[in-house]
Symmetry: C2
Subunit: 446 residues, 2 copies
């Protein structure tokens, strides 16, 4: 049996490796358009922040290891042009313009996502950069080395935009951030988002929600962005306005699409064609709380879905329960995390949503080094169930969020969560963990 | 109605305060034998480590605040000598030897626990110290100031012994630790405990499990401990061999006792007398996993039980699900945490226990500052349910344990836990959180 994987990043290589481990005599062919496979994409902002490091440090496993040690027929520089479902073939073109076709028994589409480049004058100018692939990372790093930019305009304030703000800040650059929408980190209550805004401002980073970019132009040796509130001169424009699934191949093959043009898959990662799977940033997922299809491209899901595909291709019967958008990121000295539904999301999903935000401390009363920690919890008044949570603080946020995520997976009520026996020691929390304090306050509103 | 509370520490003052908040016209009298109420006992090792701080910094709320602002009739220096259940009275003696009696409608016994002072020659010598109450803390601090000891022998290697080792280490003292039992931190696999042992040894702390102390004697201006493997000269002996519940009052009043002479209470914190509650380090609890009575005196439970008593005294009907011994402590540069049942505990409880220990990293592949993190998970082969977990590492342990605790409260299987959507960002974990990696490995044994 032949298993073909289109795309050699997290989902694709996880699937290829595990399928081969599960069933060593399976023929596994990976077709990857670029020369890069298996790298830690999320590590790029930190690598960019460190001029002494090569971007290729982020490669987790090199192509030759997949080939020689794992017996995977990994073909880089192979771009798939078409999926012929009738004849169960993929048609490809190599980087030196050769074409070919291979038949598959089972196929995995793991084409990932690409950064959105909004249509506007100047979007293709030198110095207008995006970040998603390792090649993007190399381009940014080369631009920094070659042009020594002093000033950067970051368009977008999502995870990547904020992580890149930290990276550019550590390189001593002057930073302005804009986004068209009025709210920074809209999944959190405004008071919590304002903690992030204050941190940016304390570090000298200008942050203007509600400002869109309409065009970019050359201005002598620099760039000039025309925004909805005037011109901004800059040396570099970092476009971090989101990503979009690479689903064209799937769409042209007539496969069903899900939210935001992602590839629709069932809980076994099967598309609308029972011989074709999809996993990673190109595929959708079910939301654990709402049960609805969502598209939240994150690394853990990509890896997990890759493994599940491998199991299902090799005779298993794995169903994934789904995702909740659990995420954490670091921005300067802050940790920001979320899981499940925000108050606004819960309300628009039809829940009788209620939320509570509390301010607590990261350590015990009178313990030195105490930091403020903010916790927001969202619940459903009708069932008493926890629906989501978010946190921000200088320490203790990143791993706490997983406790809330587990509670959501278990369908816990706020009352049950409040009764959980959590850990306490003075260096790590108050006696009542901030999550418990939030749960206790939220209970009063239920 | 009159609500009398015996003992003014965590459980007692939590109960008194909340009862008064719930029902301002309730008469609330607290009888406390010492002059200290409402202090952060767990903060004492950190306070002792800092000579510039007064021990009284650990007082969370002063007596006069309870009296004037909260309307609680707080009587310090009142030691209760007897509970007369027939006449619903408590008999007390004050610190200036006056006696009296007061009638109660509802009574809470929150007498806490006292450190064990093993019977041996020399146990009462000057310089043989224990730590449980604020007064013990003051005595240690005064001893350090007065005698400037260079060397300390710590007897016991539990949380307090290890936290005190850190405190004495930060004061530049030379430290030897002994305990009669053969294993350090027996709730963890030996390989994980050896990480702690190595950390102690790296910091120059001698650690000898399997060595008991038989007698202590004066040796010139110093002390000399006779151990099962020879004499140890020292300036100070820190006895940290555990605590025992202060349950004599309850026992003499004929109340039913639980494990290790703790006071037996039901889920509403009611003792075998329906007008008498017990909470805090003197009372037992139900184990969430086994459903059995256990005595695990920890701060969160004391506070939580105090609140529940207050609610039940003021017309509520609160039942606490129980505890799981979730705990964390810091020792030097390590964080150590546990929750639920260890492999040995699970086996002796009759489960078909299986465990897996994995070594992972605290940060993503190639992220700087990576530390090793060890995770042990225990499950029941018959049901696939998670039964417990422990962790050790230099970062990221303290709050991760709560995710496992929540999973245990929810009765999750290892499979379900493995499917949880956890947070990932390079500074905080690998893509597969160490807990998920442990769950995945454990699944292979189920």
């Amino acid at each position: 049996m032949r298993f073909i994987v289109i795309g050699g990043d997290a989902a694709g290589m996880s699937a290829a490796s595990k399928a081969k481990r599960n069933k060593p005599d399976l023929e596994v062919i990976v077709l990857e358009a670029t020369e890069d496979v298996s790298y830690s994409a999320c590590g790029m902002p930190y690598n960019i922040a460190d001029p002494s490091r090569a971007m290729d440090d982020l490669i987790v496993r090199r192509s030759d290891v997949f080939r020689s040690k794992q017996g995977i027929d990994l073909r880089t520089g192979h771009k798939v042009m078409k999926i012929d479902r009738t004849n169960k073939k993929v048609l490809y073109e190599t980087s030196n313009a050769q074409t070919g076709a291979i038949e598959y028994d089972k196929l995995l589409i793991a084409t990932g996502a690409r950064p959105i480049r909004p249509e506007m004058p100047g979007i293709d100018l030198d110095g207008v950069l995006v970040l998603k692939s390792l090649q993007h990372g190399r381009i940014i790093k080369e631009f920094l080395k070659k042009s020594s930019p002093h000033k950067v305009l970051i368009v977008g304030m999502g995870y990547i935009g904020l992580e890149m703000a930290e990276a550019f800040h550590s390189l001593g650059m002057s930073i302005t951030m804009v986004k068209p929408g009025p709210r920074l980190l809209a999944f959190m209550p405004e008071e919590m988002a304002s903690v992030v805004k204050r941190e940016l401002s304390d570090k000298g980073i200008e942050c203007h929600p509600g400002v869109g970019v309409k065009a970019i132009d050359i201005d002598g040796s620099r760039l000039k962005a025309l925004t909805t509130s005037g011109y901004i001169q800059t040396d570099l424009v970092m476009m971090s306005v989101g990503i979009t699934p690479e689903s064209e191949l799937a769409a042209e093959a007539g496969l069903k699409l899900g939210p935001k043009k992602s590839i629709a898959v069932d809980r076994k990662l099967v598309t609308s064609d029972h011989d074709i799977f999809s996993a990673g940033d190109c595929a959708d997922a079910f939301h654990v709380i709402t049960g609805k299809r969502v598209w939240v491209p994150l690394a853990l899901r990509a890896n997990r879905a890759g493994w599940a595909v491998a199991d299902n291709v090799t005779g298993g019967d794995v169903e994934l329960p789904g995702i909740m958008g659990t995420a954490v990121f670091k921005v300067l000295d802050l940790e920001v995390a979320r899981t499940g539904l925000s108050f606004e999301e819960a309300s628009s999903e039809g829940y009788d949503a209620v939320q509570e935000m509390i301010k607590s401390r990261s350590r015990a009363h009178s313990h030195s080094g105490n930091q403020t920690i903010y916790v927001n919890l969202v619940a459903d008044r009708k069932t008493g169930k926890l629906l989501g949570g978010s946190m921000v603080g200088k320490e203790g946020v990143a791993h706490r969020i997983d406790a809330i995520a587990v509670a959501l997976h278990a369908g816990m009520t706020v009352e049950h969560f409040f009764q959980c026996d959590m850990a306490y020691a003075p260096p790590f929390s108050p006696v009542w963990d901030p999550m418990l304090t939030a749960a206790n306050q939220l209970l009063k509103k239920l």
